[in-house]
Chain length 344, copies 4
């Protein structure tokens, strides 16, 4: 009964089946095969636009290469101070960009605002002592479990247009955000001004697959060269890209996300009913409860796994619960039952 | 009937089955799971030593990160001028090292010699105008299809010890070389002075898996940090590392290599019998025939795929044939039959 | 009447004379000359220890190369959030290190504390998702015009020893701090745990010369290779290093620093007497007054140059005044006279 | 009597005087002063065009930053295998570019040819396994002492235009080449297709000054940011840029170059008269004689300094003689007298 991470799940059976099915016959390596091309087309269809699409095995790869493709080595990128790229990816985006600066800004609910982005952009603009801001990255879902609304993204996108910045979206949990917002993939990305998207698959049921989707036609010409030298062009690419077709077929990705979101919602509602405070909105598959210490203890004693980042000033545990595409509802029920017992 | 690359094959069924089997239940992500630890132990057993073992999805990743771990940014690494790292990996090792120099040396049969390594090391040694040689990389099999003998590696290893250089082996086709040499994995690596090995799996039957094996205890402490920031720590790592156990179980890797080597040998012998010159020794699964132009044409017309790098000064085609773990003997027979027809 | 920066002054006449004098005859280039060796020895004498000494033309070069020499590409360095290296050097230290992370911490008076350094070091220690802290940098004088006391440096040095971190000091205004503290150069550097020092000359009277002084014998072996590739080994090095001998001769450097400190002190005292608040201690040649807006206007109208970073919440101007080795006392008197007029 | 390098000379007295003269009063730092702007304008006038001009203290800095400004990190630059940037600058251009590849080509007289450049450009073009050629660098004078004729440069420039490559010229000895060719600075640079020039001053009489001249208006917008982070924006910039005005005033730079060229010519003619073979044309201030061993010995015994790179297969010494702007004709006469004695 694992609520530690959506990465603890394996791959969805349909996706695994697609890999096995693709393992027949011989195809040209390194992505120069018909199946990979079909996967690219499928992504474009889902986003209702012609985009350049590249497939990599991890989110850190997607983010690092995407950031490098829009941030010059002498430039800077603005992101939220809780962004995964800022301090959870070993400074990979900085390495890939050749030494650009990441500027982590505070902001409520894990979100940047148009004003905070603009202020950071203008500080030291044109002054050679400062790294010049040329890019922005938003995380959707944020690391606080919240989702930017489409108009919030568009407002940041407008600042980017105004100042000549490229806009990246780290969509490791794109599907979870989308399922919660009830808008189209296009609405939540390029129509709102996103130039480059890290389109997550792994956390939502793939074995190891993320796509970098370059919407801005002026970008991405050199992406494949960056990807290759980084070792992220898989030789038996077809076996990887088969995942994407299964992921997008019959809305599997949305079904997966809706399930994990529903499980998170159920956890949140159940805990709230017990008087537990939930920090921030639950817009996807992450819940940040402040559990009373005895409740946290009881849950751990029952074998529930989750992150506990210590006590707050009221002695409550700062915890994170993450649900996955295949989190059994029984696990959620069992969690809430134990919590209820402890709450009495 | 594809002799273009060993990457055109899919994964071996046993390896695919292992991935599917690993896709049960939940495990901690990022390689912090028992199965991955077991795979590490298995590699150590095969090499008869305690080593640090890291798993990455591509050979370019293995090489780039391995080179970076032994070559300081202000240093240089000596390799053969045909080495894959020198001009087929988009300069990835240079990026990962932070700007080190790769020095590509000529040499017969695709091999470095102790003398060539030493001479390159001493040129500009201690002179700040020169990048300082601190590492050497040998490719086993070489890009010319030949294998270094154990004593040849050991002689280069001795030069490395003498001058304080680290020795890397690009073993993308380690198994093919080993199968041909009839020695132990330990003999061909650390016992001959290899400090860090890129231990290939993908070309020999894995879906996407290579191990970096760090034999020298003084090295590798920081490897995981490099791997993470590069995006090469897979979140659902267990599904990847399951490949390694199947690969090494019941000598599958050696059986695979013996088969592809035998198919290459059969191709070479058959062509020689037709009077075709084969360039270099056939120590593994690569054959470099100089095909008479009509023979090359006839083979292409029949649908045989292989690399043709143009005509030599006698008008013969400079071709490369590569066999895989699952190359059907029928394909080889058919190839030779067509060649025989064309030779008449 | 320029209080904008100590860089607006030219070189001290004695230093210029030394350059002219060195421009006789022929010497071997790139620092392989007797005069440069003598300059190195002179630095060692002043610091009462055997150290490796390298000469570069700018403080940004000194800092960038020094940081790179102690911070691995996959590592992190802790500094104050106002540190020059953090956001005023175009992210140069990050470029030179190959993509390390700079972690800027808050702290009163522009200073790090042992506790803040230790907490930042332990966050994510051993977790591959985090850049690993391996170095610390203190700025002496700080960017707030204050000086670390020797015991404050030593306390940070102790944390560094405890956790295996290297300690860098950005001593662009080392002389000004030293003159204020009345201790020896050794006390304020290696005896307090500093491993590598950027020893400033330019702001205190040199034309363009800084030394990187590597006290820790385990460090610096590769420094010259980094320096050369960066283009910071001057070919006619002798003409540069001649500055250092003049700088250190007859305590010129300390006399220069004492003068600029005294002028800063006089400015501060004069302004305080007028009721102007001075932010932080005036430990060197920088003063941060909150000038009433009419006073600031009056001073600007009289042609006094200084940085004005906008209004605080009481409408006072956040200004910085910097004095130089050759700031005429008459300029200070004139400044205070104008301020007095405006204060009435 | 030093023929080892043109760097063994000090600065020309006029240039030193200009520095001293500039050391009056106070100017805004970091190149934001009128004098530096005037120096930029003077360079533009000499080249008869509007260009972006940046001043740095060394040739390695000029080359490294110039290469980085035209070669993407994932790209490659073609140069001659003897080029200074290829193996005498500690791989600095590779560091500054973020890991680009330098491809060193063979070629007679130290020169690239249009055909060799085109062939290298097309190898692997569009194939992600190869670093993509995006730039070319020619060295004028070459490292073999020869000068490209204007039509030779233009022919390479035409290949660059055809394939979308930027053309850099390493003009560390630009003046010596120009003096020999009797053409205008514009003819030998932008009119022949050069996009970015490292315009040398130091070897020809400056203390420490090179200019990077960006002719192509589409390039160089970001140069200052690169220069700053590298530590190559000098704070007291005015004292550096004063050199350039003196250098270009009254054709001092050309007079200096003509003198050193004449001294080299006299050395070459004198040695030829003694039957000594001179390798390559003497187009500037470098002479490559194959000295009989006894003659080399006699010269060294008399205290003449020059590089001796060992014996050729006939036992002759492979030597290099370099003259400077202030090489006394008496030194040349004495050299030839000693050589004549030894030749008898």
């Amino acid at each position: 009964m694992n609520f530690a991470s959506d990465n603890t799940a394996g791959a969805h059976p349909d996706i695994m089946a697609a890999i096995v099915a693709a393992n027949e016959g011989r195809t040209m390596p390194y992505g120069h095969d018909d199946g990979t091309e079909a996967a690219r087309q499928r992504v474009c269809e889902v986003f209702e636009t012609e985009a350049k699409v590249f497939f990599v095995p991890t989110g850190t790869a997607a983010n690092g290469l995407a950031v490098a493709s829009i941030t010059p080595s002498w430039g800077a990128l603005v992101c939220h101070e809780t962004a995964h790229i800022f301090d959870h990816e070993g400074n990979g985006p900085v390495m890939y960009s050749g030494g650009a600066r990441l500027i982590g800004l505070p902001g409520e609910n894990g979100k940047l605002t148009p004003d905070s982005v603009e202020a950071a952009t203008l500080e030291g603009r044109g002054d050679e002592h400062y790294s010049q801001v040329r890019a922005v990255s938003v995380t959707q879902l944020t690391e606080k479990g919240t989702a930017y609304r489409v108009d919030e993204i568009a407002a940041i996108g407008a600042v980017c247009r105004k100042h000549g910045l490229a806009l990246h979206m780290d969509g490791a949990r794109f599907a979870n955000a989308l399922a919660g917002l009830n808008c189209s993939p296009a609405d939540m990305s390029w129509k709102a001004g996103v130039d480059v998207l890290s389109f997550g698959g792994t956390k939502n049921g793939a074995l190891a697959l993320e796509a970098v989707v370059v919407f801005n036609p002026a970008l991405g010409e050199e992406f494949l060269y960056r990807q290759k030298r980084a070792g992220h062009v898989l030789s038996k690419m077809r076996l990887m890209t088969a995942q994407m077709e299964a992921y997008l077929a019959d809305d599997l990705w949305l079904k997966n996300a809706r399930h994990s979101n529903a499980m998170a919602r159920k956890l949140a509602d159940g805990l709230k009913a017990l008087g537990v405070e939930i920090i921030g909105d639950v817009d996807g598959n992450q819940v940040f409860p402040r559990l009373p210490a005895p409740m946290a203890e009881a849950l751990k004693a029952e074998g529930f796994l989750f992150y506990d980042r210590g006590a707050d000033d009221q002695g409550r545990r700062k915890t994170r619960l993450v649900t996955a595409f295949n989190t059994p509802e029984d696990d959620v029920d069992a969690f809430l039952a134990t919590a209820t017992m402890a709450a009495v």
